[in-house]
Each structure stands twice: as C-alpha cells, then as structure tokens.
Symmetry: C2
Subunit: 288 residues, 2 copies
C-alpha cells in the first residue's frame, strides 16, 4: 500500500495551529500526500492573515467544544498540535464544559514545565477520543536530516564545542529544562530554561557587547536537543531562519541539532540565511 | 595561642581588591583580629572613592611587578583575591616581565571558565612564592551560617523548590557553569552561565512582565551553590543586598545558599532588604 493510500484511509487530519509558518508548511506537506487537512488556528497565537485564503475555524486554548464538534463531524480522529504557543494566563482561558472535564489535567500541566503543559493538552484531547500525532509523523519532510544544510561546515573546534553541549544537555535532561545551550571554546556560555532559544541568543549577543564574552566572533555553537523522555508529538525542538539570524547576531559559528528529532521551519529561507551569514547548520545522529 | 596571636605570626596580608564592598569588609575583619592588611585595588574593578582614606597601591590585572615588590618588602606571604572582576580583554592587559613568565597559565585560564581564569591567576602568584588564601580563611565572619537570616522563613513548597535547585546544580556542576538557578513550583525557570546572577534575576523579572512566567509573585527560589571541585580560595558564591533586590524584583520568595561556602556581602543591609521585601535567606548545610 502506498503512503498516499495509507493517508487516505486514516481520514482527514485536524491541525491545531500555533504561531509561525510551520503549521501551514505541515498542512501543505500533508495535503500533497493526498490527505485532507482541517485547520484550527489558535486565538492569540496564529496570525489571521495566514489563514485568510484557507478554510479554517478559530479555537481558544482550553475551549474544546467547537473543535470537537467540527472535528467529529468531519470524521477526524488524528490531531496535530503545532506552532509556537506562549503559556496563557489561567484567567485568559475561556473554559467550557468539555474543557472542565479535563481541567485538573490542564492545571497540573500548567504549573509543570512546558512539556507538561503540552502533554496535558494532548491527554485532554485523548480523553475526548482523539489520537494525538506528531507533525513529523504526518509530514516527515519537516525533519532535519543528518549532515549539514547549506555550504558552511563546522571546524574541529566547533565539533568539540558541540560534543560538550550535547553532554551538558544530557546531564540537564532529567529536569524538564533547557533544550538548548551555547558553548564556545569548551565553555558553557548560556543555558536555556523558560526564556526560550531566541532570548538566550539575544543574551549571548548582549554579553559580547557588554564585555562579559571575549571569544572572537565566529566562535561558539548553539546546540539543541530534545529533553530525555520528551514526547515529540507535543514539543519537538525546532529551528528556522530566525534561529540562524539570532546565532549570527550572537557571533556564533553555527547550529547543531539532533537529526530526525528536530523540525526545520522554512528550510529554503534557513539555508539562504545560513549561507549569507557564514553559519553552519548540522544534524547530528542521535547516538546511543 | 589565641587567634589574634596566630594572625600576628603569619605576617601582614596582601588583599587584592576587585569591585564591590566585600574587599573592605574583609580588610576590616582581618584588621580587627590584629593582622596588618595591605590593600591592592585593581584598576577598572575597584572604586577609587572607596580607597581614598586608606593606604593602598593600584595594580593592573596581569601586571605583577609592582605588587610583588611592595608585598615582598612588607614581608607579606599570604595573598587574598576578592571582589568582582569582569573578564578583561587580553589586549587590555598590561604585561610586564614578571607576568610574561606565567603568561601561558593565564592564557589557558582565559579561555576556560571563570573558575579557570581565577585559579590561573592564583597559580601565577604561587609561582612567585606567595600563598593564595581564601577570604573566608582570614575572615570567617563573611561566611553564611546555617539557618535563616532575617525574619522570613521558607514554606514547604519553597523547600521542595530548593531541593530541586540543589539537584540541578549538582548535575550541572561538572561543566564549570552556573552556580545559580531559579526554581518555581518544581520548574527550573532560569539557569546562570556566563551572564551572572544579577542578569539571570533580571531575566526572570522580564519573563513575568512579558507573560512567559505565570507563577504568582512570591513563588520560586534562587538557589546558589559552589561548582564541584571549585577552588573556594578564588571564587566563592556570594550574595548581598543587591541579590535580595534582584530576587524581590523577580517576584521570588527567597534565596538558598550553602552554609559555610557562601560569602555574605554587607550582612546588615542584606537582612534589612530581605525583611523589607518579605524575602527569606537561608543557609543550607552542605549535605553528604
């Protein structure tokens, strides 16, 4: 049975869309495989302009009724949740009866790590009979391959910085923290926790300006990896052209991610940005 | 033999002073014990106004000749290096012959972690026949005791956040990184690397404003601990009134440090600031 035939058998896919360009890229990949996609942009996260020319239905975080009715009527069983989502305030959530049933799960998730929040949302959908699926399962085209994208290659020094970053992330993994770290000359310069990768990169750029960092420009790497036990259906590390820009502004040499466990947003723009900035982008094999 | 008599036998103490109020506090404690103190403020780090009314001799980082001549003439063998020191640019260092002899050590240290830089400076002094001593060895009054300072006590929730922070710092310790971490509701919010504790606290405050953090004010703790194998003669974790202010602005409940391995700058002002802000400050026993 071909991939396209299998896709059709699975029924249409419900795609709940956070911010950024990734949700529509996934939608296009899935549609190309012949599977119907229903778009549910999230209020406050997705950009209305992106959805103006496509059928869609807005949803609120933690307001499940409208989504459930539409998805069931369309015979959707599989749900993908993708795109950026700033942690909403509990008092901004609009609660309905369908949501109240699973509220304890959400509250528990809300006060845990981001990973817990997303798993909790996923579990809530599963209570309503849906199956949560990772974007990479329905659109493997979005995954980072092994090896480099673009023209620039890491140096030997970059490779040893990458190895140290991978070791650090492995040690920190049990704490549901930092998917990312910046290492230069075997020195850990910055660790990401709740602030996000872009904010961490901005901090490194600032430390260069204020004199805290003295390593020459073109030194150092951003290393991103999934947390141990991270459920990749809900929260996969991702990079895009914006990440490349942040890395260039921070004066780093490049980016290393785990091949097959990292999503690439806008790969064409990412490669253009990397080549223009002289930044390498490498997918490392996951290792043992 | 009394402590004071022992102090006199050891000869005068050379105190190389970085920034902040701690160097002069140490000087006063040592002087009270009857030991003579020679002050060597560091250009670009110490504030000239603080030294206007005391005999002193300015020194440059990595320019050892003037220091060596004065310290030897005064029969100083013990040297304490204390206060804040922003990593200097190599091209800002003024090198002299005494320094050139130990330059490889300094260069090696310069590209390692901060810990390596300070140990390298210490080793360089030892090559010249001096003995590096920790501020806490000559002035134990500056050390954080076990238990709380001030009126506020940590809650049960704070205690479990402290435990998680201690576990995290233990896991990260082999990487010569982050002496500090912010934990709220068992969630690691921020990890300190090269940016320093004050910058990390400012980041937490900012995350409250921009909506990344939703834990209510008065939740969360700053946990500081020495790195594993850290040479406390050169680089001991320290807190002061400024740390309390940063913690209050970040909306945290308090500060936990390791008793006996943390320096308290300006303890009276720290307690006043903590009581005013409703912030606890606790010294935990080092544990097994």
């Amino acid at each position: 049975m071909s991939v396209n035939a299998a896709a059709k058998q699975e029924g249409p896919l419900a795609l709940i869309c956070g911010g950024g360009s990734l949700p529509l890229a996934v939608a296009d990949h899935v549609a190309k495989r012949g599977r119907r996609v229903l778009l549910f942009p999230i209020h406050g996260a997705a950009d209305p302009a992106d959805f103006a020319n496509r059928p869609h239905q807005w949803v609120h975080v933690a307001q499940a009724r409208g989504f459930i009715r539409t998805a069931r009527a369309a015979n959707c069983r599989d749900v993908v949740l993708i795109g950026s989502l700033v942690r909403p305030a509990l008092w901004q959530l609009r609660l309905d009866l369908s949501t109240l049933r699973v509220l304890p799960l959400l509250v528990q998730g809300f006060f845990g790590g981001d990973n817990h929040l997303l798993s909790a949302v996923g579990k809530a959908f599963e209570k309503h009979g849906f199956r949560m699926v990772g974007a990479h399962e329905v659109a493997p085209e979005v995954l980072m391959p092994e090896g480099t994208l673009g023209r620039v290659q890491p140096s030997e020094r970059d490779r040893s910085d990458i190895a140290l970053g991978v070791d650090y992330l492995r040690a920190a993994a049990p704490f549901d923290v930092g998917q990312a770290v910046v290492v230069a000359n075997k020195h850990v310069l910055a660790v990401e926790a709740a602030e996000g990768t872009d904010a961490m990169l901005a901090r490194v750029a600032e430390m260069r300006v204020n004199g805290r960092l003295r390593a020459p420009a073109g030194t150092g790497v951003l290393v991103k990896a999934p947390k141990r036990g991270q459920d990749l259906r809900f929260d996969m590390p991702s990079i895009g052209p914006k990440t490349v820009d942040g890395v260039a502004r921070a004066g780093l040499a490049g980016i290393a991610v785990v091949a097959g466990s990292t999503i690439i947003a806008e790969p064409d723009l990412l490669v253009q940005a990397a080549d223009r900035a002289g930044v390498f982008v490498i997918g490392e094999s996951a290792g043992p």
